[in-house]
């Protein structure tokens, strides 16, 4: 057995690294995900808020699929081996570099030996910390994304721990000239309106179920995580039972077990499942859902495919504008 699947922290001292002083609540290495192997049962993983992930990489001059840290609710403290450009996007935390405040959504230089500490979280659930050169743990099946349940990717398939050394790639990119950005997607303040398209199995529910879904907010239950959000709210009724022949479970799909309480499937979802799926969150609103945590609330709204596409195009233009500043 080699450790290609475990990304060990035992590395040559010459490789530049970040040293984890404090890990935060659940901080994981994420690139854009392990695509192309769902037919073999391999979950995609990747960022909960893909827009903030991409923005963080753009700000420090990385390729969009570079690996970085996803930070959940409570942030880490990190020490740098060498001088690098870094940036934090997504959830807004107070950020301190050797005790001095540093900005959110902006690239700044971290000197060799300096420490970045995440302080109080102001809004949003997940921050993204990118560093020029990216985090260069060995890829597993073509990706560095951490999938916690199958213990794959990142550092040994787990969240980072104190004293981990996160190896860094060579910083060859050019940081975004302006070095800062306004947020691409406004951060939700513990409640969000999330747009869905009906299907793929809306017809397996009672005729009023889509109206019921939009009738009142759903609360995200405590046992919600990167796999999915268990939602508590208006009960959705199936008209012929809650079991289907297992099929694929796309990102953002709302699957509904017999309880009638939907589960919103997120980044670490399994590849397949056996519950009917009433509706699917549009791609442009996945980043907003990704900024919610336990006890936050969601109001669902059915939209049109045209609205879904124009929202996505607007995000893409904003991201490309930041990425273009690199040249």
């Amino acid at each position: 057995m080699t450790d290609a699947g475990t990304g060990s922290g035992r590395l040559q001292p010459s490789v530049a690294a970040i040293v984890v002083v404090k890990p935060g609540m659940q901080t994981t290495v994420q690139d854009e995900g392990r695509w192309g192997l769902q037919a073999r049962g391999v979950p995609v993983a990747g960022p909960m808020d893909p827009v903030s992930h991409r923005l963080a990489n753009a700000l420090v001059g990385n390729a969009r699929d570079a690996a970085l840290l996803e930070i959940t609710l409570v942030g880490p403290e990190l020490e740098f081996d060498d001088e690098r450009m870094v940036a934090v996007t997504g959830a807004a935390f107070d950020l301190w570099l050797d005790g001095r405040p540093v900005p959110h959504n902006a690239a700044f230089t971290a000197a060799a030996g300096s420490r970045l500490r995440f302080g109080e979280r102001r809004i949003g659930a997940r921050a993204y910390f990118a560093i020029a050169g990216g985090i260069a743990v060995p890829p597993t099946l073509g990706s560095r994304a951490t999938h916690l349940i199958s213990a794959m990717g990142g550092i040994g398939g787990r969240a980072i721990r104190a004293r981990d050394r996160l190896p860094l790639g060579d910083a060859t990119g050019v940081p975004s000239a302006a070095g800062q950005s306004s947020p691409i997607v406004p951060l939700p303040d513990r409640h969000a309106r999330i747009r869905v398209l009906p299907g793929p199995q809306a017809e397996l529910f009672s005729s009023e179920a889509l109206d019921v879904l939009q009738s009142a907010p759903y609360v995200i239950a405590q046992n919600s995580d990167r796999m999915g959000f268990r939602l508590e709210g208006p009960r959705l009724t199936h008209w012929r039972g809650a079991d289907i022949i297992s099929d694929a479970t796309p990102l953002g799909v709302l699957q509904v077990p017999a309880s009638g309480q939907p589960i919103l499937l997120m980044a670490d979802r399994q590849t397949t499942g056996g519950y009917p799926k009433i509706a699917t969150v549009i791609a442009a609103d996945i980043p907003i859902a990704g900024q919610l945590g336990p006890s936050d609330t969601i109001t669902f709204a059915v939209c049109t495919p045209r609205e879904a596409l124009s929202a996505l195009i607007a995000q893409e233009r904003a991201l490309m504008a930041v990425e273009a500043r690199r040249s």
Partner: protein, 229 residues
């Protein structure tokens, strides 16, 4: 040949082709042929193609995909994809040490079936199974169809920890746990063969559409093979 199917969107970044709603080798063969044909097209923007028992999910980037062209090609393949001749595939052969501490549910499956344990082993290991799909965890293959006589339903309360390599039955399905995980299937034995190992040059032992046979080995042989893995 025309078979009923429908194409349904799943949000704005995935579309699903559904064939007849039953667990059936012919429907599944058609499903997999359709998935392989779509995969082989290598269309720009398509990120993943996932066949299951009777449907194919196609994941794509909405900003880098010609949606109309994609739907057209999917409909074409759903209609016309050529189903390969099943008799040409060489079965994957998997050794299993049945019963004892490695197969703690063999005795209850024997009671369920009203036959001796050795007969359950003979029935389970004499069939050639089809890999209908993979899912649940990396490398987990849903195999079928299990002989009705030994098709015991899963436990009502799943085990918290099922060891890697455990071979289980759940109704007409059988399968191998590729990694230690929770699980509710009736565990009749264990294999030293790893269905999934990301460090191996071919990480996956099986893919959808393969055929699989189990053969019985004793504990000495199990231990020898387990050391060699």
């Amino acid at each position: 040949m025309s078979t009923s199917y429908r194409i349904v969107p799943a949000g704005d970044a995935a579309v699903i082709v559904e064939f007849e709603e039953r667990i059936d080798p012919a429907v599944n063969a058609r499903t997999i042929a359709c998935a392989e044909a779509i995969q082989a097209m290598n269309m720009p923007g398509v990120r993943d193609v996932v066949p299951t028992y009777r449907s194919v999910a196609i994941y794509f980037d909405p900003l880098r995909t010609d949606g109309d062209a994609l739907l057209e090609r999917i409909a074409h393949e759903a209609e016309h994809a050529v189903v390969p001749d099943a008799t040409t595939s060489v079965p994957v052969r998997i050794p299993v040490c049945y019963g004892g501490e490695l197969g703690p549910d063999l005795a209850s499956v024997a009671v369920f079936a009203g036959m001796p344990e050795e007969e359950v082993v003979r029935v389970h290991s004499s069939a050639t199974y089809r890999v209908f799909m993979l899912g649940f965890v990396p490398g987990f293959a849903y195999l079928g169809l299990v002989d009705e006589r030994i098709a015991m339903p899963r436990h009502s309360t799943p085990r918290v920890r099922v060891p890697t390599g455990s071979v289980g039955i759940a109704g007409v399905q059988t399968g191998i746990y590729p990694t230690e995980s929770p699980g509710g299937w009736q565990l009749i034995g264990r294999t030293p063969t790893r269905p999934f190992d990301p460090a191996r040059s071919e990480p996956f032992l099986m893919k959808a559409g393969d055929s699989v046979q189990f053969y019985a080995i004793d504990r000495v042989e199990y231990d020898r093979l387990a050391r060699a893995e």
